[in-house]
Symmetry: C2
Subunit: 400 residues, 2 copies
C-alpha cells in the first residue's frame, strides 16, 4: 500500500472539462468523466424532499452494472425546476450518449449551483461537445475536473490512493466539492469515486454506504442539507477481472473509508469563510448514533462556531449544545477537552488557563473538541468549521 502525492488515475477512466458560461465568471463549469468499459456503479443521494432533477435521474438508475459516464456542471443546480428541469436532464443524457456511443441510461448526472433556474441548454450543449472531444486519462484533466465542479470552494478537492499487492493492483480517485449548504446527511456536495478495483455493485453499495456514513454524513458547514447532494462510485473493471473478495475486499473497503474521510475533512476545512477546521470527537455513548446526534448539535451551533472563530474556549456553549441534542444523559457523566486541555470533567468545571488556550486557538487552524460520556462504547468523528462574518457576507451579498 502506497500513498502518493501524484494523482493515481484508475485504469479505463478519462476526464475532460469545458467553460459553458453557466458561471458568469467564465470559469470552468462542466466536467465529464467517462469510462471505456461499462462500470459497476452505486450512488448515495440527498434525502431532501426537493431533490434536483439530476438526483432523481441517478436515483432511478442506481445501482447499475453498465454506467459509462458522469456529466457534472456547476453554476446551476437544476433544482426546483419542474418538468422543464427533467426534460433538460433527459436531453443532456441523450447528447452525452450520442457523443460517447452508448445509451442515455448509461449516463449519470450531477449539478450544483443556484436553485430554481433552468439549465441554459444553449450553453451546456456546445460545451458538452467540446468536453467529449477532449477526454484524456492525463491526471491534469482530473484536477481540472475537480476545479470545474467548484462553486464557492476556494480550492479543488482531489484525493487518490493506490494499492499494490501480489493479488492485484488498483487505485481509487476521489473528487469532491463543498463550501456551503453543507449539512449532515450530505449537502451541496458532489463526490465522485472512481476505481479500477474489480468490485460488483452489490459489494460496492454497502462499502460506499458505510464510508459515506462515517465521512460525508459526519460533516456540516451550516447544517443545511441540499437538494443536490450526490456521491457516485464507479468501478471500471467489475466486468473484466476477478472480483475482489475476503481480505482484499476489506482492504478496498478501508481505503474507500479513508478517501471519503479525507474528502470530508477537505470540505469542512474549506467551508465558506472558515478560519478554523473543527474536529469533534464524541465518545463513550450508548451507540454511534447517539454520538453522531451530540456531535451534530455541537457542529451546528452558531454559538459554538462563533466562539471558536473568536478563539474563545467557551466550553459552556459546547456542553449546553450537547445538552439539547436530544440524547438523555446525566450532567455528571460528561467530560470535555478542547485541543487536548481538560475543561470540564464529570459534570464540573476544571481549572485551566483560558488565555493560554485562546492563544493556541489563535495560532492554529485546526481545533479538536473531545467530549466523553460514560454510557458505552459508541463514538464518532465529525468535521465542521467556524462561523465568520465572511460566511455572512458571502451568503448575504452574493446577490443578483
Amino acid at each position: 500500500m502506497t500513498r502518493e502525492r501524484a494523482i493515481a488515475v484508475p485504469r479505463g477512466f478519462r476526464a475532460s472539462v469545458a467553460r459553458a458560461g453557466i458561471k458568469p465568471s467564465g470559469a470552468l463549469d462542466l466536467a465529464l468523466f467517462a469510462s471505456e468499459t461499462p462500470c459497476a456503479a452505486v450512488g448515495m443521494l440527498t434525502t431532501n424532499r426537493i431533490a434536483a432533477a439530476p438526483v432523481r435521474w441517478c436515483r432511478d438508475r442506481l445501482p447499475a452494472a453498465d454506467i459509462r459516464a458522469i456529466v457534472a456542471n456547476s453554476g446551476n443546480a437544476n433544482a426546483a425546476t419542474g418538468a422543464q428541469g427533467e426534460a433538460n436532464v433527459q436531453r443532456t443524457a441523450e447528447q452525452a450518449a450520442r457523443l460517447l456511443g452508448c445509451l442515455p441510461s448509461q449516463i449519470l448526472l450531477a449539478s450544483t449551483g443556484v436553485i430554481g433556474r433552468q439549465l441554459p441548454m444553449e450553453l451546456l450543449e456546445p460545451a458538452l461537445e467540446t468536453a467529449a472531444g477532449g477526454l484524456s486519462n492525463d491526471p491534469i484533466q482530473f484536477e481540472r475536473a475537480a476545479e470545474a465542479i467548484m462553486t464557492t470552494d476556494t480550492r479543488a478537492k482531489i484525493v487518490s490512493t493506490r494499492h499494490e499487492s501480489p493479488e492485484g493492483s488498483w487505485s481509487i480517485l476521489g473528487i469532491c466539492k463543498g463550501a456551503a449548504m453543507i449539512g449532515p446527511s450530505m449537502a451541496t456536495m458532489l463526490a465522485f469515486l472512481l476505481t479500477d478495483a474489480p468490485v460488483w455493485a452489490d459489494d460496492l453499495q454497502p462499502i460506499v454506504e458505510e464510508a459515506v456514513d462515517r465521512s460525508f454524513h459526519c460533516l456540516s458547514v451550516e447544517g443545511h442539507t441540499s437538494t443536490n447532494d450526490t456521491v457516485l462510485a464507479l468501478s471500471s473493471t467489475a466486468g473484466s477481472e476477478p472480483i475482489l473478495e475476503g481480505d482484499q475486499l476489506s482492504v478496498f473497503s478501508a481505503e474507500v473509508r479513508s478517501v471519503c474521510a479525507s474528502l470530508a475533512r477537505l470540505i469542512a476545512d474549506d467551508g465558506e469563510g472558515a478560519t478554523h477546521l473543527i474536529v469533534i470527537d464524541v465518545e463513550g455513548c450508548g451507540d454511534d448514533e447517539e454520538a453522531r446526534v451530540i456531535a451534530r448539535a455541537i457542529a451546528n451551533s452558531p454559538l459554538v462556531k462563533t466562539a471558536i472563530h473568536g478563539c474563545d474556549p467557551n466550553w459552556g456553549r459546547i456542553v449546553s449544545a450537547a445538552g439539547y441534542a436530544g440524547v438523555s444523559f446525566d450532567e455528571h457523566e460528561l467530560s470535555l477537552w478542547i485541543d487536548g486541555v481538560a475543561v470540564f470533567q464529570n459534570g464540573a468545571p476544571v481549572e485551566h488557563d483560558p488565555s493560554e488556550l485562546t492563544a493556541r486557538l489563535r495560532s492554529q487552524r485546526e481545533v479538536t473538541i473531545q467530549l466523553r460520556l460514560a454510557r458505552g462504547n459508541g463514538g464518532i468523528r465529525f468535521w465542521t468549521c467556524d462561523l465568520t462574518s465572511e460566511y455572512v457576507r458571502l451568503n448575504a451579498e452574493y446577490t443578483t
Copy 2:
C-alpha cells in the same frame, strides 16, 4: 377588554431592582418580584440536559399554591456549576425568604448570563437586601425589572393587558428577555407572567403550556436551546377570590396566548445583530407539529437567514430547507409567498420581479414567509430574525 399603553400592574405584586455588580458594566442585574399573598404558580423550564441550578430548583417546586417571590439575576447563568451552584441557589432562597417573611420553598429563582461561573454571592446578597427594601407596585419598578434581566437585549420587553367585565377585572403583566441562545423549545429566555386573575395552578398549567407552545416554542434566533430557559406564571388571587371558570377562563387563556405571542415576537425582533424580523407561516400540513418542524428548519437555516439579511428573496433556500426538515411531502404540493408575493406554486417557480421584492425587503424590518402544502389543516406561526455579521461579531468578540 381594553389594551393600554401604560403598564397594568396586577393587584398584589411589587417589584424592585438592584445593581449587584455581576454585570461588569454596572448595569441593573437583579430583579425581585414579590406578592403579598401566596400565589398559584406554574413553570415551563428548559429541556436541556445541562439544566442550570435555578432551573432545577424551580422544577422541584412547581406547580405550587404558595409562591411569594421570584429572584432573577442577569450576568451569570449559574449553569454547569455543580454542587456549589446548588448551594448558592439554596442560600439565595433562604435570604429572600428571611427578607420577605416566608419559607425558602416559596421563592422561585431564575438566572441568565455566562455559563460555568459560580454566582458571586458577596455581590448578590447585599443587592438582594437592597432590592427587598425597595419593593413597590409602581409600574416604573416593573419596567426597571425588565431592564435588569436583559443580557445582550437592546431593549426591555414588557407587555400587559387588562380585562374589565361585570364578572370581574384582572390584568396580566408579561416581562421577558431574549437576544441569543434562542432555540425552539425556548432558549436563554426568561419570561414572567404575573396576573391577578383568580386561577388555580391546575387550570393555569395547561393554559401556560398551550400559550408557550404557540409562542416561545415557535421562536428561534440561532436554534441553541439554553441551559436556563424559564417561563414562570403566578396568580396572586387564586386563594382569595372566586376562581375563573368557563367562558371567563377561555378569555383569560386567550389573553395569556396573546401576551406570550407578543413577547415572543419582541424577542425575535431583538435577536442579536438582527436587521429583520422574520415571520414564518406554515399552513396546509398534516398536523400542527409537521408545520412546526418545517417552520423550524426554515427559521434555523443560516442560508435563509443570511439571504434575508441581504434582502434577497432566495426562495430556493427556503424550499430546500422545507425539503430537509424531515416531513414527507411531494414537491408538487408546495407553494411559497415572500412578503405576499407568490414565488413558487405547486412545485414550480412563478415569474416575479425579484428586484422589486428586494427593494421591498430593504425598506422594511419585517418579512413574512408563507409556505403552504396540500396535506391538511395543520399550521403554525414561527418567529426568527436574520443572521448578520453583527451576530458573529457579538458572539466571537465578546470575550474575556
